[in-house]
Structures are given as structure tokens and as C-alpha cells.
């Protein structure tokens, strides 16, 4: 099960990734609707999923979270359902990179946008970064939609840049500068 709550939104939480979440990570990474969209091109067994979790633990420039829907209460007052993952990496760069995935059963409900928004809040609050960047395969409407919802600006389209799902696809690059995020927060009264 995922660990402690790190950030809490209206419907989802970002929780710490624990070693035992390797099962969940493995399930996501191997799912064709998730892994292919992430650019993963080979199967991941349990050991390599554990290595993935531990590799992120060891990297001081990565902050990664399990996205959980908090849809009930157990005896301890919480009953999180893990639905995806959100990561900010290269935190030492001028513009670190945001990435995320949501299991197909939970897509289309706005969880990705809410979770990624919490990660963006965290990144700007905790780190002296100039902005963020993100990339998505152009045909992946769900992933592109999250970035558009959050107010990222499309900064480029790299033509035929990756081979995925049997064909070359364009890669969409997005960027968000700190003042754009702050302005956005002001415009919505701090609520997104």
C-alpha cells in the first residue's frame, strides 16, 4: 500500500511510494494503454519494478508519488485506492520535467489533472525552479489534455520523433513558467 499523504486535493492525494508499491507500478507500466503512452517498449518484471522504485528513492532530483483516490474510510480513517503515478524529475534543472499516468479504469474523471496540479504546486513551492516542462505523444489526447487543462503552453511539436504502437508519432513539448502558474492561481482565486 502507498505510504503517508504528502499533498491532499479535493478528490485525490499524493502519497509516498513504498517498496510494496512495486506491484502497482508493475501493473501500470505493463498495461498497454499506459506503458505504450509512456514510451516503454518492453515488459517489466517485479524485480525491475522494484529497481525502478528504489532508483527513484536514491535520486535526490526526483519527487514521485502514488496518486490515490480517497473514497472511503477504513478503521484508521483512510482507504486509499491507488489509481496512478505522478513524478517530477530533474529537479536540479532550470525547468524540471513533469510526467504522470493514470490506470485506464480511472481515466476521464479528471484525476490526472488534479494530481498533476498538486505536483506542480509542490514543485513551485518547494524548489527554486524557473518553470516546468512536459512531453506527450501528440495523439495521446488524455495526456495532452492534462497539460492544456493546467495551462501549460505548447512550445513545440517534434515531428515523427518516436516510434510507438507501430508508427512514428509526433512528440508534443509543453512548458509552464512560474508566473504563468501564479497568474492562473490568482485568476481562479487559488482554486483549480
Amino acid at each position: 500500500m502507498p505510504g503517508a499523504v504528502f499533498r491532499r486535493g479535493d478528490r485525490v492525494t499524493l502519497r509516498t511510494v513504498e517498496r510494496e508499491d512495486a506491484d502497482f507500478v508493475q501493473r501500470g507500466h505493463n498495461h498497454p494503454a499506459v506503458g505504450v503512452s509512456l514510451g516503454l517498449d518492453r515488459p517489466e518484471n517485479h524485480d525491475s519494478a522494484e529497481d525502478h522504485v528504489q532508483g527513484f528513492e536514491d535520486d535526490p532530483n526526483v519527487a514521485t508519488f502514488v496518486v490515490c483516490v480517497e473514497d472511503g474510510e477504513d478503521a484508521d480513517g483512510a482507504d486509499p485506492t491507488p489509481v496512478g503515478k505522478v513524478t517530477v524529475k530533474d529537479l536540479h534543472h532550470t525547468r524540471p520535467e513533469l510526467s504522470y499516468w493514470i490506470l485506464p479504469d480511472f481515466q476521464g474523471k479528471g484525476y490526472g489533472t488534479e494530481a498533476a496540479g498538486l505536483a506542480v504546486d509542490y514543485a513551485f513551492e518547494a524548489h527554486e525552479i524557473r518553470g516546468l516542462q512536459a512531453q506527450a505523444f501528440a495523439p495521446n489526447e488524455g495526456s495532452v489534455g492534462v497539460l492544456e487543462n493546467l495551462g501549460f503552453t505548447r512550445e513545440g511539436t517534434l515531428r515523427d520523433a518516436r516510434f510507438r504502437d507501430g508508427e512514428y508519432v509526433d512528440v508534443a513539448w509543453y512548458g509552464l513558467l512560474r508566473e504563468e502558474w501564479d497568474d492562473d492561481a490568482d485568476a481562479t482565486g487559488g482554486v483549480r
Binding site: T94, Q133, E155, G156, T157, D160, A161, R162, Y168, W173
Partner: protein
Amino acid sequence: MPGPILEVGDGDDGLVLRTVEREDAALLQRLFADPYARLGLHEHSHKSEAEVEEFVEEQVEDDSNAGYLACVDGEDAPYDHPDEDETTPVAFLYAHHVDRDRPGVVCWMPPEHRGEGYAEPALELMLDSLWRTYDAHTVGTEVLDCDGFTRDLVESVGFVEEGCGREVRFVDGEYRDAVQYGLLREEYDEGARAGGE
């Protein structure tokens, strides 16, 4: 000094591509002193000569990358190992991840050789070599918006501007934009035909 010849240019000016050797570290060290050029190698600071030797050993010599020194050979320059008075290195050309979907190209010319007319044919020679050796579908390169020399160079061989990352790098005292360029194999082939080659 550089090693054996890999590619020979069309002209009669002696332009060739040669292998990068560890003893070329002193020349490449200047690349890492150039705040614009070193970004292409994802480096933000200068390096000692020993560190640059490591770069040659660990990255240039790695099979997933390809490095070249464009040289202007004298009349008697040998095929294999020229002496200092037999050839003049004028540019370093490098591609990372030649085994992936889109290799990334880096080109650096020491300032004293800019304007001599070698930059464009040297980069073309390197691209010819890349397309012939690896089955890449496209190549890409990132150039700082303010690096006019390199932008003009990559545009002259047909790279197409695909985007611009705003304030994505901190270089030379400011947050600066970086232009993303791409070039498709078929575009390059068409360009070469249009150029009458």
C-alpha cells in the same frame, strides 16, 4: 591528433571526417569552455583535460554515440594518423543515441575557424555518414536562441524549427530560450537532390 579518415568531402579543399582520439581532449576542452556549445552535451560547467579524456572514453567511444572531427588535410596527410602539421581540425561533430528513434546532433566549431566555409560541408558530411550508417528516421538538435552561428549552420543544411522552449536554460547570466530542430531522412534526401548532388 585525430585518427583515420571516415568520410571524404566532395570539394578539393581537403575536408575529411576523422575519428576522435583521446589525445584530442585538449581541443575538445575548449568546447566545454564555451557556455553555449557545452549545453548540447548536457554540461553546464568547464572541465579539466582529464575529465574531457573521460568524456572521450565513456561517451564518444560508446557504441550508442558517434563522434567525428572534421579536418582540413594538407596534401600529404596520411589516411591513418596525421601529424600536427599535416591536418587541421576545424569542427567537432557528435550524435548521441544513434541507436534510438531520434539521435541528437551536436556541432561545435572553434571561433577561429568560423567563416572559412567549412562548417556547412562538414555538417553535411556528418549527416551523410549518419544516414548511411544508422537507420534513424529523424535527427534532432537543440540550439540556444542566442547562438546565431549554430542556428544559421543547422538551418543551412535543412534542419526545420519545431519548437522553442522558453527560458529553459540558464546560461551566461540569463534564462534563455532553446530552439528545437528536427530533420527527417526523406527531407534530407530531397534537399540533397534539389542541391544537385
